[in-house]
Symmetry: C3
Subunit: 203 residues, 3 copies
């Protein structure tokens, strides 16, 4: 199940990177690079930081072909992109939680503790988008909007909690996915954000 969800996640992330790059007037090559970096950047950062080699896309370059295909399709359907915003948000939410669970699980398997694993969930889930925004020269959105990174973090801890019960791994993954997805959808539809603070003036 995670395998299928992982494929959806990298495809959605690649498309979101391609759209962001396209809006910055990048050429197709730039769109390809940034889409690919968005899809694999989070996992790459996690594995470099944990010294977990070979990287996923180095070992399985076929994943690169899948995201490349998704990016090329995105370029061709770009007049339709605006009509797909809602579908994208749904798929992106699934991708976020999937990446978070995979990141947390891999880190635990490498023998690290829960705190490090929950940070790796955020790296895997949210840092593809951070990389996308850095490469497009804009302030990373995930630090400002709709609980994105915090949902990744919370999903990891929910997953750890469920793993301590007698539930099967499948059930743990499914419950985490559904709960994380619902919170993310609520955050978007209700436009929930964490508060921001005024560091310049008194408040």
């Amino acid at each position: 199940m995670l395998e299928t969800l992982y494929l959806i996640a990298i495809i959605v992330e690649a498309m979101s990177g391609a759209i962001a790059a396209g809006k910055k007037q990048m050429d197709p090559f730039g769109i390809l690079i940034i889409g690919t970096a968005t899809a694999f950047g989070g996992g790459t950062l996690r594995d470099v930081v944990l010294d977990n080699h070979p990287l996923v896309w180095v070992e399985h370059p076929e994943y690169l072909l899948i995201t490349t295909f998704a990016i090329v399709v995105t370029i061709f359907i770009r007049p339709l992109v605006r009509y797909l915003t809602e579908a994208f948000l749904v798929l992106d939410a699934i991708g976020l939680i999937t990446f978070s669970i995979i990141g947390a699980q891999k880190t635990l398997e490498l023998g690290h503790g829960y705190l490090v694993a929950s940070i790796m969930a955020v790296f895997t889930g949210a840092f593809g988008g951070v990389l996308r925004d850095i490469l497009c020269n804009q302030v990373p959105l995930v630090f400002r909007k709709e609980l994105y990174g915090s949902i990744s973090f919370l999903s990891a801890w929910l997953f750890f909690g469920l793993c301590m019960t007698s539930l099967s791994m499948h059930a743990c993954i499914l419950i985490t996915l559904i709960a994380g997805f619902v919170i993310r959808m609520l955050a978007i539809t209700m436009n929930l954000n964490l508060p921001t603070f005024n560091f310049d003036n008194k408040n």
Copy 2:
């Protein structure tokens, strides 16, 4: 001694990252991430580049709790931040030299030469701030202001020179710290900058 100074250094760096992120209207989660990246980014870059695993914060996640606490405190005392600017600059100078000495020393212990060790001093001392500025989407300050990175570099070479004398390691660290600190304070109070050049027009 270095241990205590290291704790001060990561706390100060974390707070400086939190303040920068707060000024960019990031939410608490973004502030937490950027504060943490500022505290550990330089050492992480050094250890990734030198293939020195596990990383400090992966092996000692308790450091992450310390910086998280410092960041949360920063958010709560934000109306006071402006009054603490001078205290911050003093602590940040101590942090810069501490990080530089630690970075240089670790690199030598790994068997590398002085040139590489002095570069790692700069990575450790100054790149947390570079990462902070990249994540906040601004031109890295340390490349422009008050000898920041260059003091890190010079401190490393002073430290190497002292280590060749018959002084104890403690004395070497202390002298480097004091000398680096004094130069940094002079640079700030006298607004010393390295010259910048005009690459666009004749000069």
Copy 3:
């Protein structure tokens, strides 16, 4: 031959980084850091991603002295820089193809396939410039201009194709260099760009 070309490549890249940093009003230390990062950033990213340690400049710090010298010279000759634009473009094109061939070849030697090797060609050839632009806080030029990254990619595949023939390695390198160089020069003189797309409005 590749050895000599590699030296030219890192010198040219270092100078291009120094010029970009100088235009951003960085101090000499910032110019030095960004010039060095431009020269070695692409290869460093490749080797970190492939877990190929020690890094080139960690093992051969003497290369750092060469680029430092080139950067210092750049600062001194800055009034002349504008008259050297064409010479720079020629040398930079040689550097791009050289880096690409070296990146591809090293990756194959590490046992990876062609797809990964061609991506590493792009990393090695073009990501020094990406890093330069991120550190200077501008949208990476190589994603937008004159086929830069795509020539790196195509050079790698041309090189792979030639290696399958009975040509000597020297001949393969030389042909790739000349072909890539000619395409790059044509792209510049004819102002060839890949098309960009409008993702915001219908088109």
